[in-house]
């Protein structure tokens, strides 16, 4: 990495650097916001999926109990 920095042009952090940083931050910022929104959506879907799993388990348990009761009779 130090070799890379040695051959790279100097990064002037004066007036120009501020604007260049601003443009790249705007670009990366929008991606980060998008990823955050996707993360929230994913959380919501995962919550819904676990809710469905619980409902399915309760349904299967009820069916098994009914079958057991019918067999006992």
């Amino acid at each position: 990495m130090s070799v890379l920095f040695a051959v790279a042009p100097a990064l002037p952090l004066d007036e120009a650097g501020k604007y260049v940083a601003g443009a790249f931050v705007a670009f990366v910022g929008v991606i980060v916001i998008y990823v955050a929104i996707m993360g929230v959506r994913l959380q919501r879907m995962s919550r819904e999926l676990s809710e469905l799993h619980r409902a399915l388990e309760a349904r299967e348990q009820g069916e098994a109990e009914r079958a057991k009761g019918a067999a006992a009779r």
Partner: protein, 263 residues
């Protein structure tokens, strides 16, 4: 399953973006005229190019939807335009920052390139409200597709008109006479375009995968708990695949919409 190949695409996008940023700051030479400020070029121009191409792509997908009545194409058209709008905002923001650094103004109203890009943004910004204003999913898809085709056709016409206009201060990336980018800059520029296109494709794939997973969850809930357990979808700009159409059923098989989301 949904989101197939997302990992490979994510890795490719990450590698391409990292390579772009490294090349921009450590390989591309400083511009003789603008100096360090010109580095914004490698974000602003690829984003703008990908945005305009995406609008055209959205129009093509919408045309396919009109031809086939397959709502999967409406979804693709919607997602492509949706992500293109996000890219458009990035293009406007980075352009305004570059304009301020280079010309001393955030915005120049008498510059055709800037104003035309804003007009394209405003035109496609009406796409979402248009969809939202139509409640019936079938009509929503059809009307939105007509809009997307017309607006998509407007983009290359607009681009050609701006190229024909006498430019004032905004430079031309693909010059028609002489000059052009030096080879080192051109390579970095090409890599930047590939990276932005990959990022765009990745965001579209994520969006489509998220929507399809959501519809599958709704379908699963309906099957498991009955229709009463599924809250009716509120009015939305997004296509509602898997939801029954509220309009009269179509008589022929062609044009009937699937009960489940397509894979």
């Amino acid at each position: 399953m949904y989101g197939k190949g997302l990992r490979a695409l994510s890795l490719a996008t990450f590698a391409a973006l990292t390579a772009t940023f490294a090349l921009v700051f450590f390989y591309a030479p400083l511009d003789a005229d603008q100096g360090f400020i010109q580095k914004i070029f490698y974000v602003h121009v690829p984003v703008a190019i990908v945005t305009l191409c995406a609008y055209v792509l959205g129009g093509i997908f919408a045309a396919i939807h009109l031809k086939t009545h397959d709502r999967g194409w409406d979804l693709r058209s919607y997602v492509v335009i949706h992500i293109a709008l996000i890219f458009n905002v990035v293009g406007l923001l980075t352009g305004a920052i570059w304009a301020k650094a280079s010309w001393g103004h955030w915005w120049v109203w008498d510059e055709p390139t800037l104003v035309s890009f804003l007009i394209v943004f405003l035109l496609f910004a009406t796409y979402q409200p248009l969809r939202f204003s139509i409640e019936d999913p079938e009509r929503q898809a059809r009307y939105a597709a007509v809009f997307a085709v017309m607006a998509g056709a407007f983009v290359p016409l607009n681009f050609a008109a701006v190229r024909a206009a006498t430019a004032t201060v905004h430079p031309r990336t693909f010059g028609t006479t002489g000059g052009g980018l030096p080879s080192q800059m051109a390579w970095v520029f090409v890599v930047a375009i590939v990276a932005m296109a990959l990022l765009f494709a990745l965001m579209c794939c994520y969006e489509i995968a998220a929507k399809q997973t959501r519809w599958q969850l709704r379908a699963l809930r309906r099957r498991l708990l009955g229709s009463d357990a599924v809250a009716p979808l509120g009015r939305s700009a997004a296509p509602a695949l898997g939801e029954p159409s509220r309009s009269a059923p179509r008589e022929s098989g062609r044009g009937s919409y699937p009960a489940e989301a397509p894979s």
